[in-house]
Symmetry: C2
Subunit: 594 residues, 2 copies
């Protein structure tokens, strides 16, 4: 057996900022070197950030990425880090003649091995995901080479992200090529429960490849995606060796016992990938002799968060990164006294500190006393910056001209509030956070350009029942130290905001249940209809009330336009009403209850 | 040679309305029968409408489509139309085991041959487009069968839409199979100049297939897409035989002289498609003997619109269909006296009649006298329904609470106007049309939730210079009879709105050129940057001013968030800021001028 100390750089790149990402590559390679690592692995498309969407169809961008990987190799050597091999993701291009249906410039979701100032070998993702939030047939052509580099007597193969999720391809080829270690750069976004699926997958693929598998994942928020990190190293038999924290940058270092390389040819060989394609194995030798034996360090296995903590951390990190990466210093939101805005304010305080959170209390003639009281109570508990802007006079000014009634009058109040928040945002540079939850968004229980006005929607993927659960959970964390929790001395959310009956307070004595069923019933139905895509017959068969099924399906389908206009927000489910669920707006399809 | 009268049903289906589309299938098959046609061909996914987006991932929808095609076959027979073979597109599914990366339920973009009450044979699109506005790797699995049915002694092959645009595949197989006629259902959206590309393509593929090619295209508006019809029949040597009108429903009937079938085997045969795949040819015989010779009718070749008329027709049709298919009776928009809102109002009048167009004049303290005058002049010329809602008192009511200055104060005025329009929309059920043009949208020269508030954006893909051109052109059409022009007795757009210098009138003496370069310079630069994806070095090399390049690129990139929140509007260029151009919001990539 041969030894190797590997370092997985679970870091948070900035999409499009090649210079900053290159600087980060150097910095983290230095950390790896300081820890005595023999190999450093960064994440998928680390130099460009992920996902870059249509930027990849711009040739100046691809050229900048190709130049960046060469620069990175030189920079590492100039900084005295040339001896440690570095695997890093970036965007390259295939030399293919243009043809209809092939992405312009034939981009590759590439990874390179950098060593001694040079780009030693390149590869690219073989399996392109084109489901959920992924559109990779739009952006990339398929890679068909697998590098296997010999490092201190160990054969190390490289695959990229989706290559693990689909059968056949690089994993099969790694086995065929007799690799002793398979390293995999990833940019795999968070979804509830995905950490369990990921470990199971990585273990299975390690067994298929017959070698140790090191999975390095991105961390951080990027528009509607949150990357959770959770980098993993498993043995050839699929046992967990080391695991990084969730939602935090970490250099995951592990000493591995690996089989000595037996293959002695260095010529490329063509291997049937078992998926109808052929992959060329390209062998490179960096160093052929195993290291002198050394005492391994004990590997780190980070404690894993429970489901509620995991969701809350995802929301906090995504707000923090959206604010920082878009250059905002502060956020602003409307605080009604209700639970949605209370939770949103709390997430914001936990993300960037309460001194950078501005709340506006905008009472109307329909606001109850307890609303203003509960809102003030939150301001006191959290120390956020608050101001009161009563809306009655403004609404009256509109009314004099328009004489709106019913729903139009209700929406007017919400739009006046949206206009106030946007005005203060424009004047003072705060990012507006919207406070709508997923149950509202699903059923269209919101006002276009009213409560949906803003730049980021922290709880847009959180159903109402989970809003309550997260709020109670957050209040229980007083005294717990965590990078995702501000150190409030008291529970930050007023208990009354959690316990009272929800109301939009846009007309006298209004209650959510005037328009919607009880949220526990609604959320179960929405989960079956939206996440599971069940049809009406299936929904009724699953025990949902037939009349309610018909009513809710209609609400959900008609609300598609509103959802399209909603700000992005962190995805925590398979269908967050972002790019992962796209229906036509002009659409006559209606499920008919059986 | 054998004769055949073919009828291409260039029609306008409703997405999701399987019952209405089936009724339309019967109705138009009757028209075809009345015209003595021996074969009727409908468009791609006609029974479901196109595109249906994520509906196709819902099993109840696919099952409904599969049931609909069987029902359609029976209905045709019941209505006495069973003898005429009908080719029609719908959604089917492949019987494939689920696997990662394969669309749920393995849907097919299918076409079926209906005859004598039965679905005789089925096929599905082989080449799946995944670029521009198409996401078909997300939705479909590849078809690998080509039906060739013998009708009155002629072998007729079927391919679907994209199968024509990509090399290899069904066209090559049709040649190999010795087809005498290739029929192709399509749903191919409009873009400027695409009609020329389409004819060239169809001619080339006919020569490759070595047979007559009949191309039936959808017509009508569907969210941001406009299907232009323009169905075509060309000879085996690529000569135009018949061509349908643009933007209008039409039954294109042509008598064809076709080679008699020579192949005598009916067993399926496997053919190398020349694109790395194998396609199974499936032969079916409906009738083996050629028809008795008859006198052919002269084929129709519709006159083609010039470029300006074509764009204008696309805009009018898309507004008309968006209004009708979403169940609106009327539209409302703000009329400023400027050219953008004047053109939008005129398109609306042409689309649904001026009696269903409501305009609101919303003067502020900064509105010039000529603005109100020009707006009133348009109201008079067109007879649209107008009301005046001065905004000063409302703005004052906000000001008392907020004291906004500068850009925040300018945006406030736009948001008050947006709130007024949305209020009137909610109260009276009008669809709000936004009036922003593409030059504004590109550079972010608009207010989020202000002038961008609404349900449909008729000129969002029209650059300012084209706004003027279309306006002048429209004024010249007085007296011309067309389904896209209301019969105004005078030029509908006040000349002063066309000629005067553009201004947003949000502060004293404001002019667009305070913030933006002259529009002829700007539009040329935007075309190169946005449509052609040129990088800054290329832009400078192409002769654009370096400082302007840097400034405009920055404006365009930063405005991505605003564009994401903009309503859909008809696409007339390759990049309409809809699904055809998607950049990250959180994005640090900046082109650096060389």
């Amino acid at each position: 057996m041969a030894q190797l100390r590997i370092a997985l750089a679970q870091t948070n790149p900035a999409v499009g900022d090649l210079a900053a990402n290159t600087a980060k590559l150097v910095e983290w390679t230095r950390h790896a070197a300081d820890r005595g690592a023999h190999l450093a692995v960064f994440t998928e498309m680390f130099l460009t950030g992920y996902p870059v969407e249509d930027l990849v169809l711009r040739s100046s961008f691809v050229e900048a990425s190709v130049a960046a990987v060469e620069t990175a190799a030189r920079r590492l050597a100039e900084e005295g880090l040339g001896e440690i091999p570095v695997v890093v993701g970036y965007v390259d291009r295939a030399r293919l003649a243009p043809r209809v249906g092939q992405p312009k410039g034939a981009p590759l979701d590439a990874a390179a091995l950098l060593h001694r100032g040079r780009v030693v070998v390149k590869t690219a993702k073989h399996h392109l995901p084109n489901y959920g939030v992924f559109d990779e047939y739009r952006y990339f052509v398929r890679g068909d080479r697998m590098p296997v580099f010999r490092l201190h007597g160990v054969d190390v193969a490289i695959a990229v992200c989706e290559d693990l999720w689909q059968d056949g391809g690089p994993v099969a080829v790694a086995a065929e090529a007799g690799a002793g270690l398979l390293v995999v750069p990833n940019a795999s976004p968070y979804e509830r429960g995905k950490d369990d699926a990921r470990l199971e997958l990585v273990s299975r693929r390690a067994r298929e490849a017959g070698c140790v598998l090191a999975y390095a994942n991105q961390v951080g928020g990027q528009d509607e995606l949150v990357f959770d990190g959770d980098s993993i190293i498993v043995s050839a038999s699929g046992e967990l060796i080391a695991r990084a924290a969730q939602f935090a940058e970490e250099l995951l270092v592990a000493d591995l016992e690996l089989p000595e390389a037996r293959h002695d040819g260095a010529a490329p060989s063509e291997v049937d990938a078992g998926d109808g394609t052929v992959i060329t194995v390209e062998r490179v030798e960096l160093s052929s002799s195993p290291l002198e034996p050394y005492d391994p360090q004990p590997p780190a296995v980070a404690a894993h968060l429970d489901d509620t903590a995991e969701v809350y951390s995802a929301l906090v990190l995504s707000v923090r990164d959206y604010v920082a990466k878009n250059g905002f210093q502060s956020v602003i939101l409307g605080l009604s006294g209700g639970i949605d805005s209370a939770l949103t304010a709390t997430i914001a305080s936990d993300a960037i500190g309460p001194d950078r959170v501005h709340v506006v209390l905008m009472p109307s003639q329909y606001s109850s006393e307890h609303s203003l009281g509960d809102a003030n109570e939150l301001v006191e508990r959290q120390g956020v910056k608050a101001r009161i802007v009563p809306i009655s006079d403004i609404v009256t000014a509109f009314d004099k001209e328009l004489a709106l009634t019913g729903l139009a009058a209700e929406n007017l109040q919400a739009r006046v509030r949206g206009t106030i928040l946007m005005g203060l945002s424009n004047q003072h540079g705060h990012l507006v956070l919207t406070t709508g939850n997923k149950s509202e968004l699903a059923t269209g229980y919101s006002t276009l350009y009213g409560d949906s006005a803003g730049g980021f929607a922290p709880i847009k993927d959180v159903p109402k029942t989970l809003v309550w659960k997260l709020s109670r959970w957050r209040n229980e964390q007083v005294g717990v130290s965590s990078p995702f929790l501000h150190d409030f001395p008291v529970p930050p959310i007023p208990e009354n905001s959690i316990e009272k009956e929800p109301s939009a307070e846009l007309r006298p004595d209004q209650r959510d249940t005037d328009s919607l069923p009880e949220y526990d019933i609604l959320d179960r139905l929405l989960d079956d209809y939206v996440e599971k895509d069940m049809g009406s017959a299936e929904l009724v068969a699953a025990g949902h009330d037939p009349e309610l099924v018909a009513r809710v399906i209609r609400l959900v389908d008609v609300a598609e336009y509103k959802r399209r206009q909603y700000p992005p927000g962190p995805k925590i489910t398979p269908k967050n009403f972002g790019r992962d669920r796209r229906l036509p707006i002009t659409n006559r399809w209606r499920e008919n209850p059986s």
